[in-house]
């Protein structure tokens, strides 16, 4: 007993005391489960924030992007002067915000003389910066400046059509990266079923030159045509802007491989000694080790059954019996 207590004391002194924390609220538990990593992922949330200085156009751009992504976006209105996405130490604040708001896409706007109307679009993997694209916004036209029939306005949260035009998106590295990031940003929720009456918006991105992209948001008009497929008509409604690619940072290879992994891609564990044949089906191989015939115990030569043993025992019993008789007689 004494030794037992001593051992427990020793155990306690070497380990860090840990406590299990579980949520006492059903609401908190549901929130945590929503934020847990899932096998198949649905939409990504976007974090929209700004740096120390912003211009009028940039403010407009940020608010319109927030409008377009109303359901799955968080907008911070204060200025953050310690966020510098392209510097090694300037990402900690971003990662902290991403962790707290559970956002894996961010749009950071800032304005300076060297980089006017700057927009940094970035993605996160496990709440650490995965990749970044820096673009400058030119020729921005906000939603108010377009006149269109208000009845056709696309509804919030509808899944958009996305169109990319231009060979630049295939040939130029930066534009290829921008295409991927824009797809992630504009995509919205990943759904299995879609209601055909509810498709009403489209984004068109055209590569004008090797570093400029014209992005515009249009409403869709479905016109009657002879077949099941209606004729599409695009009407510009939403914001339109020119994006000039300035800098970009690609993810490093290892991180990219890990992020691109899907559940099905996981290397299937090879079951050994099983093969399948078209005719016979599944075939298994069984390996039997060599039998060591000489070492096996012979079945009939059990200890108590051996004849010599038996006879020796009988003899002993007889001798003892005769001895006793002699003693008794004496």
């Amino acid at each position: 007993m004494h030794l037992y207590t001593l051992q427990t004391l020793r155990f306690c002194s070497s380990a860090i005391m840990m406590r299990i924390k579980t949520p006492k609220n059903g609401r908190v538990r549901r929130e945590l489960e929503k934020r847990a990593p899932k096998l198949v992922e649905t939409g990504k949330k976007t974090l929209i924030l700004q740096g120390t200085k912003t211009s009028g156009t940039l403010n407009g751009v940020l608010s319109e992007i927030y409008h377009l992504k109303k359901g799955g976006a968080v907008r911070f209105t204060r200025k953050n002067d310690n966020i510098r996405p392209f510097e090694s130490g300037g990402e900690t604040s971003l990662e902290f915000f991403s962790l707290k708001t559970d956002c894996s896409l961010f749009v950071y706007g800032s304005h300076s003389k060297k980089r006017p109307n700057n927009l940094v679009i970035g993605r996160m993997y496990d709440h650490h910066v995965y990749d970044l694209v820096e673009v400058g916004v030119e020729n921005f036209k906000s939603i108010e400046s377009f006149n269109y029939d208000k009845k056709m306005a696309p509804r919030v949260g509808s899944k958009p059509f996305i169109a990319f035009v231009g060979e630049g998106f295939e040939n130029v590295d930066e534009l290829k990266h921008l295409k991927e990031v824009l797809l992630d940003l504009l995509r919205g929720e990943v759904v299995e079923n879609i209601n055909l009456a509810g498709v009403d918006r489209a984004y068109v991105c055209t590569a004008i030159s090797s570093n400029k992209v014209y992005l515009t948001h249009c409403a869709l008009r479905l016109k009657k045509s002879g077949t099941v497929v209606p004729r599409m008509e695009l009407v510009e409604v939403g914001p339109s802007m020119d994006l000039v690619v300035r800098r970009h940072r690609l993810p490093n290879e290892g991180l990219r491989k890990e992020a691109m992994r899907t559940a099905k891609d996981q290397p299937k564990k090879k079951i050994k000694n099983v093969s399948s044949d078209a005719i016979e089906g599944t075939i298994g191989k069984i390996y039997i080790p060599d039998q060591k015939v000489g070492d096996v115990a012979l079945p009939n030569k059990a200890k108590g059954v051996k004849r010599e043993r038996r006879e020796a025992k009988k003899k002993e019993a007889n001798e003892r019996a005769s001895k006793k008789q002699k003693e008794e007689s004496e």
């Binding site: 840990m18 899932k38 993997y125 990319f164 035009v165 060979e167 695009l234």
Partner: protein, 337 residues
Amino acid sequence: MAMETESQKAFHVDVGNLLAFNPFHSFPSLPASRDELVKECLHEGTKLVQAVADSLFNLPSSEDVDGPLVKLPPPTTKLPREKHLPKPKPPTKWEEFAKKKGIQKRKKDKVVWDEQTGTWKRRFGYDRVNDDKDIPIIEAKMTDEPGVDPFAKRQDEKKKRVEKQEKNRLQNLKQAAKIGALPSHVQLAATALPITGTQAPPKKVTKDELGNVAGMAATSTASGGKFDRKLPGEKPAKKQGKHRKFLPVVEGSGIGSREKEQTESVLNKLISKHSHEILNVGKAVTMYNVKKEKKARNKRNQEGKFSSATNKLKPKKLLQKKTGKKGPVSSKKGKAK
């Protein structure tokens, strides 16, 4: 991938993402006006959107209240994940043991028949089947020690079992956390740092202690903690301001000039300590008189008592004391004597 049969150009269509990509278009020369550029972009966009719609509307649809519902195929463009793939939970120690032994899980009922009362009672919770407080009599066994309360013993055993269970649960969770497969609603928090020397847990600091320490720290600032930013709810420091008084820079030199007095007193103290010439005559005289009187007294006592040893000690003692206080004076005294 859908092919446009009209032209030789092919668009890359991804119906799962409602995406279409035309990699063959290029602007040989930028159109002069903005409007023309916009028009051309929209024209190209319309073509692509039409291509997607072609494949989309031809998918098998089911009728719904709001409109035709279509099941989208999985998207072909691969995009990176936002979080890592969830790792499967490792089997707990009991699960491993059960697998090894071939123990199957048995479905337990919520209510159990209670023989004592003759009713169906819960398996756990309020008013349960084998509750400790429902036992009226425990029969004594030969192995029982006298003086041990069996009811208390049962409660202790139950407590120990519960503690062991909690420890095992913590170990299982730690194992899962090591792999990275901790369940989403559980967090492991460290309560205390490893105890090294004594086994005493770290003491909690009281509010007053904290206040005192904060006040002490505040005085280390140049303004004595007066302008420190306070947390909401923090009370002002008790001893505010500086604890040192500096004399004014500009002051007249006269009788009341404090700076002169200050420097004078400092200098006097310094010089007096290391000087061998300064003698406080009054004090020296009184000391001499006192000593003389004591000696006379001792002589009278000596004649009466004959305690020479004590007499020898006593004056020496006085001497020691005096050397402690004022070095030069006593040396002078010795010389005078």
